[in-house]
Symmetry: C2
Subunit: 217 residues, 2 copies
Amino acid sequence: MGFRMTETTSGQLRVNLRPEHPTALRLIDVTVEMIDAHGEVAVRVQDVVAAAGVQIPVLYRHFGNREGLIQAAHVRRMQNELASFLEEGRERAGLAQNRDEFLRTFDQVLDVLFGPERADARFKRLNVVGSGYGRPEMEAVLVELQQEASGRLGELLKPAQDQGWIPATLAIPTFIAWLTGLAMSQTLIDLVDDAELTQGWIAMSKKTAMAILSDTI
Amino acid sequence: MGFRMTETTSGQLRVNLRPEHPTALRLIDVTVEMIDAHGEVAVRVQDVVAAAGVQIPVLYRHFGNREGLIQAAHVRRMQNELASFLEEGRERAGLAQNRDEFLRTFDQVLDVLFGPERADARFKRLNVVGSGYGRPEMEAVLVELQQEASGRLGELLKPAQDQGWIPATLAIPTFIAWLTGLAMSQTLIDLVDDAELTQGWIAMSKKTAMAILSDTI
């Protein structure tokens, strides 16, 4: 590969996976683009430093090795995905004036969440979370990000619960985790690319989610 | 890395991802063990050939490069995971004499599916499916395997539908895909490692799955 990797494995990695240095951020941006386009395997250290306009030792100083860079890039991909999802939620939050409006709005949120436009975002998220296998430090950061995002999404639902539009007994963070996990798993359906299966899966997912939310289950 | 990779990328890979040659199978077994233990990044070609007792050119002949080997290993991991899951289902299929017994049996299957003993299997499956990002040929094989397994799992439920214990309108393959995807997404919950969240998530998943199956939604 031209670039000599250090002896550290992912298990012994001591790298800041959320760096703030502008050069580190530039290297991450380039790597995220490469992973998003062709997967982790397509990331070549020489290409990354060339695209970021730095020398290899600079990358080495920030990330230890290719593995450290890739982990930091996955963390950024998770952040990107969660941010775009939070934005969707925020846009629609607080618009409802009563329970019916709230449930209708949530139904629309589910259409977006399970919609074809989000297929790539779903696959990216599955790729990021799945790539934490064998990388405990990175997975810990991913879980932390996921928990943060769930908390913020939960806050968007809290007013509806305070109004009595959502069952008081519903643990919102659990519901959010359940729902976003379900959406991630939709990748398996997206990849089969069968219209009947897709429609049936979405109907099943919407029906169960709305039943939990409207307390009819 | 010592081993010179060819110019082929995952996108241009021309490798049999389900080989039958005993040497290829040995190389795959060794690689599966390494990925299962420490993730894809831990796979070193030198270690694989050493453990399999062959020379590097042999590996090269069967898989083209490290990437081809890894993809074949992921396919095998998917096969292993699906086989173990099918076995669980088969053990319990056909035991019920009436609808109540059937629903009780299915409830027990869900306890196993969402149980702590399957946490590693869930993470492996998530890792395998997620690693198909940017690897279209491999992903196509994974989807095919998934569809085959869903079909076989569906056959186990067919007699119950014929007996009228499951709604006649329920598309069993869709339900199986929904349920196994949901179980895969549980990894996000497993990793948070919070007893209350875990219990709440399992209760939500069981309640919705049983509602679909018993037509109370």
